[in-house]
């Protein structure tokens, strides 16, 4: 395999030539920033003072009892500023953009959480922010559209294709190609061309580092299972990265099963896709026999994406992480269950991970100690859930 940024056969830099010098510049800038203590200190300070890190680890004992597990703990990324883990990477990348002298930021968003996080980070650092969002997602996540505008970002509607996250990524890349000399592309998930998957993992790895240390301190041993939802896979890779070298810890990624993988209406790229190239990277992709990207379906806009980060594809291939999927109906039920048992309204994305707990019990038994990445809060999803309940 040629090219940089490979995870086995996955990854790479499948981009227009116009962007190749920019991506090399980004790679160099990221490496330099990572090695720069002042950059790290600034990031750590803002993660603490502005994002609210470290986030707590909550013992979800009533939930554990309900699903029949010995222990379930939730890593509370829902308690970060702006309400989801997306802020970790948005802040890190916005600092990097400023360090590179780029005054203009473009971002894509699906559920709106990455868009809100990017808009907030740009407001904090005084950067111009343009967010591309599919019109279908704008409809589903109206409050986040208003939040982004309130934070000073320009939200541009994307009418193309399925009008969701995939199309927003296309449009953000087109903007980047056009304005590459002045613009930083703030990609939200662990997808896209190298170095994005590595960079997003790096900025999200704080989730796993904190959670591992918190669990060890509280329990005195490591969890037996760690579970996270996977769309592009940024919260999951951030969480998993701390446990990859712990052979006793089983890792589970939960994809969006939509109406069921067998129905064809889902967003489970690993569970129902084939190896292909989308948005600059080689990974599992939901596509038809001719290589056209398929429209996806999930009740959760943040998981509604036909690809997955290349490192997840690799971790699936090596067997280190087990990838499963949970349906819309299971996620909606888990949304209510967590709300009632723990007083926490989760986003629909991590509700898929909560929904997996019953299956973890079946698979690993009641003695399993499970760490869940609760990647975001559910305020943005209230209307979707209300509509879904009315339809039931």
């Amino acid at each position: 395999m040629s090219g940089r940024g490979r995870y086995g056969q996955f990854g790479g830099q499948f981009l227009p030539e116009t962007l190749m010098p920019a991506i090399a510049e980004l790679e160099a800038a990221f490496d330099a920033a990572r090695a720069d203590e002042a950059f790290q200190q600034e990031l750590d300070r803002l993660l603490h003072e502005w994002v609210g890190r470290p986030t707590p680890l909550s013992d979800a004992s009533r939930l554990a009892k309900l699903v029949g597990l010995r222990r379930v703990m939730l890593k509370r990324e829902d308690l970060t500023h702006t309400g989801a883990h997306k802020i970790n990477s948005a802040l890190g990348q916005a600092l990097l953009a400023r360090r590179m002298g780029k005054q203009r930021i473009v971002a894509e968003t699906g559920a709106g959480q990455h868009g809100v996080a990017s808009a907030a980070a740009c407001a904090l650092l005084g950067l111009e922010c343009v967010v591309y969002m599919g019109t279908e997602d704008m409809r589903r996540q109206e409050p986040n559209v208003f939040r982004m505008r309130l934070l000073g970002a320009e939200v541009r509607a994307v009418e193309a294709g399925s009008r969701t996250l995939k199309d927003a990524v296309n449009e953000a890349i087109r903007d980047w190609v056009t304005n590459v000399r002045t613009t930083y592309y703030l990609l939200g998930s662990a997808i896209g061309p190298h170095p994005y998957p590595a960079m997003v993992r790096e900025f999200q790895s704080i989730i796993g580092r904190e959670a591992r240390a918190q669990w060890l301190e509280r329990v005195g041993a490591l969890p037996s299972v760690v579970v996270a939802c996977v769309g592009g896979g940024s919260n999951a890779i951030g969480m998993f990265s701390a446990f990859l070298e712990d052979p006793g810890v089983r890792l589970r990624g939960v994809e969006a099963g939509g109406l069921g993988v067998e129905s064809g209406k889902h967003a489970a790229s690993i569970g129902g896709g084939r190896v292909g190239v989308l948005h600059g990277t080689r990974s599992y992709v939901l596509q038809d026999e001719h290589g056209q990207i398929r429209e996806t379906h999930s009740v959760s806009a943040g998981l509604d994406y036909p690809g997955v980060g290349p490192e997840h594809a690799f971790l699936h291939e090596t067997g280190r992480v087990e990838y499963v999927s949970r349906t819309d109906a299971e996620a909606l039920e888990a949304f209510g269950v967590l709300s009632r048992t723990e007083g926490i309204i989760p986003a629909l994305e991590p509700a898929h991970a909560i929904a997996d707990l019953a299956h973890i019990r079946l698979r690993y038994g009641a003695e399993a100690d499970v760490l869940v990445c609760l990647s975001g809060r559910g305020d943005k999803d209230l209307e979707t859930v209300m509509r879904a309940r009315e339809a039931m």
Binding site: S2, F14, P16, E17, K166, R274, Q287, G291, Q292
Partner: protein, 271 residues
Amino acid sequence: MSVAVSGALRLERAFARARTERRLAVAVYLTVGYPDRASTGSLLRAALDGGADVLELGVPFSDPLADGTTVQRASEAALRNGVTLGDCLSEAAAVVRDRDAPVLFMGYTNPFMQYGFERLATDGARAGIAGVIVPDMPSEESSELDFALAPAGLLRIDLYAPTTPDDRLARLLPNARGFVYCVSLTGVTGARRALASDVAEFVGRVRRHTALPIAVGFGISAPEHVAALRGTADGIVVGSAAIDVVTSAPAERRATALREFVASLVAAGRS
């Protein structure tokens, strides 16, 4: 029975002929299956009748991230019409057989990858195409495709951009074959009012590293653009503007309108 001529040789001859005739070579891009499957053959022939030297057949893809609105919409329409890479090969084979035209495919990595690079090379050579242009496959990622194309005698035409630095040009251009495709601007495909102001400087930078003909594409939309490139480039590629002509003409006038438009570009390229 005539001696088989390879697609690559047809391409080389097309640029040489334009040079002999002291004009810019004109390559016309059309999305296969747009506006409908039945008209692709007649539109390709109309472009040739207008004097096009090279045909670029756009292989539709659901997520064409290097393309502007015109090609995106054409691509979406073609996919709705059920167009596949197999259809593109059939259209190519027909126009090569009937008109001995140099034909290139322009399409994205994934449909080619799913078809299979070796199968693409074999079937492409059989259809008589000269090679492929893959806008989301930079040279760093091209070794698998190159490895499959080379034995079949097919070319992969690299794109170069105004942002490509000199050291990269120096490293990549010695590997170029056929012609060098320069992207006139930093941006996606699509008609523009004016040429980018730094095209001549960019083409000059490229020229220092290659003896191959240089074609300029992206944003070339009008005879004035072509005229302005005389003495700078050896050829031009027109895509979105040609599709716009097809889109805006009434169905029965499409072929005529395209032929006249291409003829106006060819005329503008004469010294």
